[in-house]
């Protein structure tokens, strides 16, 4: 006898504990199994690309903070690089090193939240995320020391940084660098070999390498699928070509690999920061840039490896004080392209963790 079943539609989101913001998955379920998914975005659409067209180049920096609000420093850096490319602004060496240090700290902070939220989705009763927020707090403290805020840093400027680092920054960073590896080991002890974590996330939500490339995935999602592609190595910007670091990759492209890639990236980021602090030169932290930048007519595209992937800024200038067009290549949005086929066939519980393993930030998806 076969049971007659009837699929039913469940809206996961927009208000749901695990949608990392306001996101809606319109799922069709057959019992617990997902038959069809339609991702629905736009609940956090603020029209940043349009707003930017009516602001001065400098006034857009605070807007970029609000794209990927877990990695504001990276966003600042990407945007400033695009404007510097467009207007031909030189960046002093000290500023480049400091930018690298900040971007890598930001990557650690963002991955901590990404991994923590992933385990929250796994149902780990807040424990991993609380531990990880504890360590992120130390990074946020360092950022607060630099720029006075804890989330929307607005710290980088065209041709450098807004201010030089205070003298108490480097000792505090030193302490953090000494402590952090121990804590990463502790997370691994807590989570890496846990049988439930393995059973839940290994071979779940597999994204094959060919599909990952075809959907233009980037960041940990692409590297988790085993593609060794990192903008820091492939297209080195700033002073990344002077540091030694590895690109961690996964093998299977499952949720577990994406988690492992993030943890290994934290270790590599610590390595980069160690080297950057050792090589940190003196000199000016900012070059002379006029109050209102007027880049020549033209266009420029600069991209960086942010915590979520290949974050690009495309600017078109018409020689006025505001950009003619400001486009963000948002890795979070593009990484979601294969969500549907990754989810179909899995159960509701898996859908949540697959979605969590992609690690998106709605501020960037919807802009």
């Amino acid at each position: 006898m076969t049971l007659k079943t009837e699929p039913f539609v469940v809206n996961i989101g927009p208000q749901h504990p695990s949608t990392h913001g306001v996101f809606r998955l319109r799922t069709t379920l057959d019992g617990e199994v997902i038959v069809d998914v339609e991702p629905i975005f736009g609940y956090l659409h603020r029209g940043i690309e349009k707003l930017a067209e009516e602001r001065t180049y400098g006034g857009i920096i605070p807007l970029t903070d609000r794209l990927d609000y877990l990695a504001s420093m990276s966003n600042n850096m990407g945007y400033c690089m695009a404007v510097e490319k467009l207007a031909g602004i030189e960046v002093p060496e000290r500023a480049e090193y400091l930018r690298v240090i900040l971007a890598e700290l930001q990557r650690i902070a963002s991955h901590l939240i990404g991994v923590g939220a992933f385990f929250n989705d796994l149902g780990a009763m807040m424990t991993p995320i609380v531990y990880m927020i504890r360590e992120r707090e130390k990074i946020v403290d360092l950022f607060e020391m630099l720029c006075g805020q804890r989330l929307t840093y607005n710290f980088m400027r065209f041709g450098g940084l807004s201010q030089d680092i205070p003298e108490e920054f480097l000792p505090a960073l030193r302490k953090f660098l000494d402590q952090m590896p121990r804590f990463i080991d502790e997370y691994d002890q807590l989570l890496m070999d846990n049988e439930i974590v393995l059973a839940r996330s290994k071979d779940v939500g597999v994204l094959p390498a060919e599909t990952a490339i075809n959907i233009s995935a980037s960041g940990p999602v692409l590297r988790g699928s085993g593609v060794k592609w990192d903008i820091r190595k492939a297209d080195p910007y700033s002073v990344y070509d002077r540091f030694e670091f590895d690109i961690p990759t996964g093998t299977a492209g499952d949720a577990y690999d994406r988690y492992r890639v993030k943890v290994e990236e934290m270790r590599q980021s610590l390595r980069i920061i160690e080297q950057a602090v050792a090589q940190l030169p003196g000199g000016p932290f900012r070059s002379k840039v006029p109050f209102l930048v007027r880049p020549p007519v033209g266009e420029a595209y600069a991209h960086i490896e942010s915590a979520r992937g290949d974050l690009g800024f495309y600017l078109v200038s018409d020689n006025s004080i505001a950009p003619y067009r400001f486009h963000v290549r948002a890795p979070s949005l593009i990484n979601l392209t294969a969500l549907r086929e990754m989810l179909i066939g899995w159960k509701v519980a898996d859908a949540i963790i697959i979605f969590g393993s992609i690690d998106i930030v709605m501020g960037e998806v919807d802009r």
Binding site: L190, I196, R200, K202, D203
Partner: protein
Amino acid sequence: MNIVYHGIAVPDMKQLPPDWPGGFFWHWLVFTVIIFTFVFTLVMAFTWVERRGLGRMQSRLGPNRAGPFGILQPVADAIKVLLKEDIVPSRSDRIVHWLAPVVAFFPALLIFAVVPFQNGALLADLDIGILYVVAISSVSTVGIFMAGWGSSNKFSLLGAMRNVAAVVSYEMPLVLAVIGVVLIAGSLSMNQIVLAQDIPLILLQPLGFLIVFIAGCAEINRSPFDLMEADSEIVAGFHTEYSGMKFAMFYLVEYAEALALSAIIATLFLGGWRGPVLPPWLWLVIKVFAVFFLMVWTRTTLPRIRIDQLMALAWKFLFPLALINLAITGLQVVAWPDALPWTMIIVNFAIAAVLIVLWSRLFKVGWGRVEV
């Protein structure tokens, strides 16, 4: 007249005064009041212990505002939740929605009728005590399914269906593991099981303890088996649509069930009220808290498992192990009734370890996808 087992003299319960402390109705009244007080106080203590313990394990403090060390937090929570507006979804099945918390609540309370607080001090010394526990504890599921159905919410329904599946599956290994204890103690009566434990039965039945703990956690939906209210997946599961007083009832059920499981495990495996120096009831409370701490600890550490993995754990791991455990226990009781307890302890621990390691071969990853 004493029953002798494993060299332990067990007094025959029939000689104890049957109606302490007086006539039947006095006995009934006193113990009803005691049970209500015990359950409500310990449920409050449990919520406090759970939140503080969880907090401290997560580098936080936990609630610490109401009263010293936040001890009055459960009271404050109770007042808040009782004063809240009761919201009933417009398309719900009102009667079912209203009845569900009541149906879920009373079985949890009824279990305590057979939990002995000290020798002979229990509401009803049933000869079939443990059978009664097993029978009555599953009735809560009906209430939970009523809640899931009656709220007319898809998340609630999913949660309720998960719960029914879990309870039906886990009843099997739970009962089989409990029978091992019954075999050793030679009685189904809770009081007699306690009296039979000159050494706590956890030492003689390590595998049985593990199975009862896991299966019990799954039945009462404690983490890592809290699928029915998996907050990251189905929001709050069956009580998504409940608020105010009715939600408080479910909250109470959750902790009363945890208390009941802790009390049963303490009685069956940890020697119940028995212990030196301290008064017996205090020993019971201490043991109950010890078991509950274990639950809080696993809840802090472990992520949630998936519904099909939950089923697989019950049928592929716990059920065969419980059967084997039962067979071995039966063999031991029949073949070597007078063997030295310490040799039996070592043998039983070794058997448990070997079985668990053998069954770990069944662990595999990446299954569960369905072609659609």
